[in-house]
Structures are given as structure tokens and as C-alpha cells.
Symmetry: C2
Subunit: 467 residues, 2 copies
């Protein structure tokens, strides 16, 4: 099945794949036209011959209307992998018009983790009726998976794996695999378990392939394999896979018994998501891409962050307000003041972003936090001195007043020092107090650099220039 | 060798691994003390029993002095994987005191891609002497790898793989693997090649394991496998691995002949790096984490971005300068003006970040760019209306002047509309003109939102409030 997919998929789209794209813009337009003209045969032939992951992309690129329409025509033929690859919002559109039986059947045949993702993504009121349509054995596993908290090993794992006792030989395992039906679609290691079903070793398939039939697994297994507790957070799992170059890992329950397997393809997605999440959170987007949401939903999602930023901006305004009289006397101050605040914000953001990312990858941790902190302050001072000179000269020449140049230079130096200090300290402290440093760090930082920037500049001007 | 590493490593550190950390802060301190007291036995026993990837982390956490000292004591025993996992800067510290022969031997035994990374990372003047110490056969492959541009398949691939003709049976392959010495350490698929050595299919090891000895590969192989051209960019390779859940892929030259293999563990690093790069570039850090650089190097690296931002800030100042007279009459304008610019910058950054990320993951592309663009403008208008009301009321009450409220409300609405428009347009246009949208996009955006913010607010005030 898979082979024939990839086969046809390659014939049609080889060129685009080499370019790195599964589907071209022209193809999407062609599909749109054929949805409009209801050419079902075209749709079935062309769309279903794509790779399942590319069908998912196609659905994401279509608008809501076309998406629903295409889904209702293709539902009997859509592969399970396509549904599992869809963004939550798009998934709901796609399955909205599914006939009840079709989806239940599909879910019963999928990997448990994928089925659980789908059930978890659909609207709450549709979940129970859908679960009832799934055969009892897979349903039990899906319900169990849903009981584990989101973003933990319990959700990520699949329930099928290959586990054998340590005294088996390579030949026995091969014979078992050739005969047994209940083997996962994809697996990269054999798990060796003791009589209590606790993993005691793993044998990668490439080691199996190179070993003679009469060799006992015990001799070739990796002892004390890295085990993933079922409640482990997905970020930690991603760390283990990256750090130790794993392709699969056994998942164990609190009694240390083997209950599932996590494979590298699931982890690749997690790595992608986690990095993306940090980036979006830093920019004040809630953590999931809101690309497929309707405009008003997106606007509502982004409102809270902007609202918090409004407080920051108002605080900055209040700071400026303190020096109303000073500004009235020297209007040049109003013209120059955004420079100090903006440079502080930018320098601080550089430090902040490096720190947030390094905390996430664990390159920054308790053992080097103090060094990094000290270094970032130094970086702030270095660039502070250089920009103080540049901006000082600029202001002095622009307004023909040496005093103004000195004031802005001192304010700039001080604000870049503060930017380095808080740019490093805010994420490190948030992390220590178990708050996600990507959330809130940049609001806190710009509050500091704005308020300090305006206060330092206007305050110094008041002291040095106003008589 | 590997087994005994992981074995000891787990005994010592099992608890921390479960917590997601290879090494604890206490351990790092203990190592520091033993470097100071020159307890070489402790260092060899404890440090070398860690997993190679954790030894690399340990080096990164130590300061420069301790790092060099530890490296000179351990050089004969340090595993090749440790060197390959080090950050460029740290790597140079570590190998600085290596005796010439030791490093040459190690490099000769490593995977080509890792050896090439190390040669490429060390200071230029040390490269040639080092290459001369490597045995001629691996040296040839390393030199070849170095001729491929950085961040392409040619650098990422290893030169060992398993390739067999299509008429071989499963049994023949197994016998070949059991007998042959020249097989990669790790592999996940058998590549099937035609007489010209072009890949015509792949057989995953799990399929091999389940198939009977007399089955011919042709029957079970995935036809038309996804091929990676040797000059393909690593970002595109990462996309292929993610999209099609690959664990390994054959690399071909321009004649379509098999010349290497890329495995998922290399790609996991790329995915990590690419996401990180976007995030850092958006914040104006050059793309590599500068965590391990000296302060003055870091400062120098971050200077250009700040300098460009200075232009933005000066442009904003010039805009304000146009309205010098207006501000002199109504000082409240100077107090309120940062609010409009700052809200525009934040709203625009939300849009910009979503767009940059979606372009990188190809969720945003030619076929939906127009939709996304239209939607983001709408999002800007929605939030623009809401914040116009909030800020308008705030300003009117604060300064007791209705006109001021109306002016700031209109300016806010306009600037959030502009923020949505440019937040989406800038990355999409940069991408279309083949400029990396993560670089420069945010400077361009804040230039727009600052200048428009100040101009709209002060301009409207001039028209409506000044007589």
C-alpha cells in the first residue's frame, strides 16, 4: 500500500520533491477547479495518489469551503496517516462531514498515539459518539492513552513493540518476526525484557542483521537501556533522543514494566514544535501557530499579549510624564528619547533570545548561569560604550549642543548595561522559579529597558541641562 | 565499547538521566575541584565513564581554563563522538593541547561527516598539518567532503552504506552483512542499486527482518525511493525527513549514482539548528548561539544588528523632529507618542513571527500567501479597533481632552492595520526574492511601525489640535 503510494507520488511529483515541495501551486489550483466542477474521478485519481503527508498539506492549503468539500468526496479513501498529519483546526473541518462508520474504522486501525491525537483534537461533543464506533480492543488502548496528560510519553508512545526474553537467539527472533502478525509497522530495535516484563536491554536491528543465528541476545544487547517513564515530558524525551542519538526507546510504567515504544519520527515532530513554540511565545503568540484559525479567533488569541504590552507602554508614558516640564523647555529631548529606549530593547532582546534558547537546549544551566550572566553584562558595557560615542556625537552635532550629546551618551551606556543585565537575569530567574522563560520574558524586559531608557535620559537632562 | 560506556554511564547517573540531565551541577563542581587538585585517576575514571555526548556537555559547562586542562589530561581516552558533539568554540579549546598523532588517528576512524565537521571547525592554520596525520584513505574522503558547500547533503552524509543489487535475496543480504567488515556502524535501510549504482529502491531493516530468506529484494523494496542530491540544502533535507518520516536516505551525485547516506540522527540536529537559527536571526543574533564566545567577540557579533537598528531609531527621531513645533505646543503628545509606536511594533512582530515560521515549515507558500495576507490585515483591524477605543478613552481621561483621545485612537487603528499589512508582507516578499525572511524582517517592520506610528499620531494632532 505504502509502496504504491510512494511510487505514484514520485512519478507525478518527482521534480517538486527534489525542489523540496510535495505539491505545487498549480496543482492546488487544479484541485480547486475540480472541486468546483465536481470532477470526483480526477480528485480520487490525482489526490489519493499523493503521499499521505502531502495530502495533508493539500488540505491545509485549501480554503475552508474547498477543504470540507474535498474531504466529503474522498473520505472512504483518505489514508489514516493523512488525518494524523493534519493541524487541529484543519482536522476538524475535514472530518466534519465524515459518515460515522468510516472514521471509527480508520481510528481502530491506526497507531494508538495517532488515534488519540485525533480524538483529542476534535470537538468535545463529538468524542464519545466517535469512540463508540471503534472496535473494543483498540478503543481500550485509545482511552488509556487519553488518560495520560498531553505532551507526555503516554501520549507519544505506541502500544505495539517487539519484546523478547534475553535467552532467545537471533535466529529465534527472526523466526518469530517472520511468523507473528502482531508486530508494529515500523520498529528499529528489539527490546529484551526480564520475566517481570521490565526492559533489560535493546538490540538495534542493524546489530541483529550482522549477528549469526545462534547468538544469544544477551551477548549483543545494549545493557541498561535508556528508559522513558510514561509520565516524562515530551521536551525531556526529545532531549534524550537528541543527546543519545536514539531511534526508538522503551516506555515503562511506575513498576518499570514495558508498556510502549516511542520512535524517532514522533520525536522529530516534538523537536520542531518545541523550538517553534519558544519562538512564537517570545513574540507573544500563544504557542501554537494560529495560521489556520479564522481572523477573529487569531485576533482574540493575540489580544492578551498586546494588552499586557499596553501596560508597559503606559508605564513608559508615565515615566515621560514626570519630565513634562523638562521636555517643554528642551523639545529636542522628545525627538531623541526613543533612540535610547529602542536600542536598549534591541540589545536586551538579543541577550534574552540567546538565553531562552540555551535554557531550552540545556546549554545554559545552573552550572554556568553565573558565567553567562557576567558575560552578558560585559557585552552590554562593550556595545554600550561604542553606541554612547556614536549617539553622543550624532546628538551633539544635530542640535549643536555638547551637553545634549553627553546626556544621551551616558543614558545609552547605562541602558545597554541594564539591557544585558536584565536580558540574562529575567529568563534565568523565570526558569529557576519554574515559569516558562519564553512567556512573559520579553514584556518584562521591554518594560525595564523602556522605563530605564526614558528615565535615565530625561532624568540626566533634568539634572545637567535644566537650570 | 559503546555498551560498556552506556552501562557505566547509567549506573552513575541514572537518576539524572531520568530527570533529563546527563550531568548534575555537583558533578561539574567535583570535576573542577579534581582538575585543580590534578587527580588524574578520578578524572579518567569518572569522566570517561560518561556517555560521549555527556562528556561533550561537561566540556561546554567548564570554563576555558578548566576545559583546556581537562582535555590535555584525557586526550588519549576521549571518544571521537565527544569531539563531534562539541560546539565549534569549545572544540578549539579542547584540541588545542592535543598531541599531533592522537587527533589524526581519531579522525581517521570517525564517520566522514563528523571528521569533516571537526576539520572545518578548527583554526585555518592548523588544518593542513592535521590532515597530513590522517591515513590516506579516510583523508581522501574527508577532503572530498570538505569540497561540498557547508549545510548541504555532501557535508551531512557519511560515505559508508549498504548497497546491493535488486536480484539478491533476503538471505544473501543477511549472509553478506554477517561476513562483511565494511558496513556502517548504524544503518536503517538496505539500498538497492542498478548496475550503474543508481538507487532503485530501499528496504527498511524491519521489512528485512520480517521477510523469509528466499524472498528477492525487488519484491519487498520501496520503489522510486526519495533521493537526496548531493548539493541539496540541509533545510530541504530536513523537510524531506520530517514530511516522509524517513530514518535514512540515499545521497546521489549529478549522474544519479549513489555516493552516501544521510541518517535521521544528523537530521535531528539540523531541525534543531534551523528552528533555532530563525529565532536567533529574528532577534538579531547572527544565527549561531554565541554562548561560548568571549564577551568581546559576542559584542562584536551583535554590533551590526544594533547599528542597523540605530538607523531605524534615528529615522523615527527625524519623523518626530518634523513636528517639533506641535510638540512644543502640546507636550502631552511627547508623553503619549511611544504608545502608538510600541503597540504597532508588538502587533507586527506577532504577525511577522508566525509568517517567518510558517514560511520555514512551508505551511505558508505561494498557494495560500494571499489568504494569509488578507487575514493578517483583518486581524490588525480587529485589534486596532479594540485598542483604539481603550487608548482613546485612556488618553482623553488622563489629559482631560477629548480631541487627544480621538487623535490617538485614529493613529492606533491605522498603525495596527499597517502592522498587520507589513508584518505579513515583509517576510512573504523577502522570501519571494530569495532573501532569508528571518534576517532583516524585524528591522524593516519596526522601521515601518515606528515611523508610521509617530507620523500618524503627530500628523493627526497637527491637523486636528493645532490651530
Amino acid at each position: 500500500m505504502k509502496n504504491s503510494f510512494e511510487n505514484k507520488f514520485n512519478e507525478n511529483n518527482k521534480k517538486e520533491v527534489v525542489l523540496g515541495f510535495g505539491i505545487s501551486r498549480d496543482f492546488v489550483n487544479e484541485v480547486r477547479e475540480n472541486i468546483n466542477s465536481l470532477d470526483i474521478k480526477f480528485l480520487k485519481d490525482k489526490v489519493l495518489s499523493l503521499h499521505p503527508a502531502d495530502i495533508a498539506d493539500l488540505f491545509e492549503m485549501l480554503g475552508e469551503e474547498h477543504r470540507r468539500s474535498l474531504a466529503s468526496h474522498l473520505q472512504d479513501g483518505l489514508p489514516a496517516e493523512t488525518l494524523a498529519s493534519l493541524d487541529e483546526q484543519v482536522l476538524n473541518d475535514v472530518i466534519e462531514n465524515y459518515k460515522p462508520g468510516v472514521l471509527g474504522d480508520l481510528l481502530g486501525k491506526m497507531d494508538t498515539d495517532d488515534a488519540a491525537y485525533i480524538i483529542d483534537s476534535i470537538e468535545v461533543e463529538r468524542r464519545d459518539p466517535l469512540l463508540k464506533q471503534i472496535k473494543s480492543e483498540p478503543r481500550k488502548l485509545i482511552v488509556q492513552a487519553l488518560e495520560f496528560p498531553e505532551m507526555t510519553a503516554g501520549r507519544l508512545m505506541q502500544r505495539d513493540y517487539v519484546a523478547v526474553p534475553r535467552y532467545w537467539t537471533v535466529g529465534q527472533v527472526i523466526d518469530y518476526l517472520r511468523g507473528s502478525a502482531k508486530v508494529p509497522d515500523k520498529f528499529y530495535s528489539i527490546f529484551v525484557v526480564d520475566p517481570r516484563h521490565s526492559p533489560v536491554g535493546t538490540v538495534p536491528l542493524y546489530t541483529m542483521m550482522r549477528s549469526k543465528r545462534d547468538i544469544v541476545l544477551e551477548k549483543i544487547m545494549t545493557d541498561d537501556p535508556i528508559l522513558v517513564p510514561v509520565n516524562m515530558d515530551q521536551e525531556d524525551i526529545a532531549y534524550l533522543f537528541e543527546q543519545y542519538d536514539l531511534t526508538s526507546a522503551p516506555v515503562v510504567n511506575s513498576q518499570n514494566r514495558l508498556i510502549g515504544m516511542i520512535t524517532v519520527d514522533d520525536v522529530v515532530e516534538v523537536i520542531q514544535e518545541e523550538a517553534e513554540e519558544d519562538m512564537l511565545k517570545l513574540a507573544g503568540v500563544s504557542g501554537d501557530t494560529d495560521l489556520y484559525l479564522a481572523a477573529w479567533q487569531t485576533a482574540r488569541g493575540r489580544f492578551p499579549w498586546l494588552f499586557v504590552n499596553l501596560f508597559t507602554a503606559v508605564l513608559a508614558s508615565i515615566t515621560i510624564g514626570i519630565f513634562e516640564g523638562t521636555i517643554k523647555q528642551i523639545v529636542a529631548l522628545a525627538i531623541l528619547m526613543p533612540i535610547v529606549a529602542s536600542m536598549g530593547g534591541n540589545a536586551g532582546t538579543q541577550t534574552l533570545t540567546v538565553a531562552v534558547r540555551a535554557l531550552a537546549t540545556r546549554e545554559l544551566n545552573a552550572s554556568n548561569a553565573l558565567n553567562v550572566f557576567g558575560k552578558e553584562i560585559l557585552v552590554g558595557v562593550y556595545n554600550g560604550v561604542i553606541f554612547a560615542v556614536i549617539v553622543g556625537l550624532l546628538a551633539a552635532f544635530w542640535f549643536g549642543e555638547r551637553g545634549l550629546g553627553i546626556v544621551i551618551a551616558l543614558a545609552m551606556l547605562f541602558n545597554l548595561f541594564v539591557a544585558g543585565l536584565f536580558g540574562a537575569a529575567i529568563p534565568i530567574l523565570l526558569h529557576r522559579f519554574k515559569v516558562d522563560p519564553a512567556v512573559g520574558a520579553s514584556v518584562l524586559l521591554t518594560t525595564v529597558t523602556d522605563v530605564v531608557g526614558f528615565f535615565a535620559f530625561l532624568g540626566l537632562a533634568y539634572i545637567m541641562l535644566v537650570n
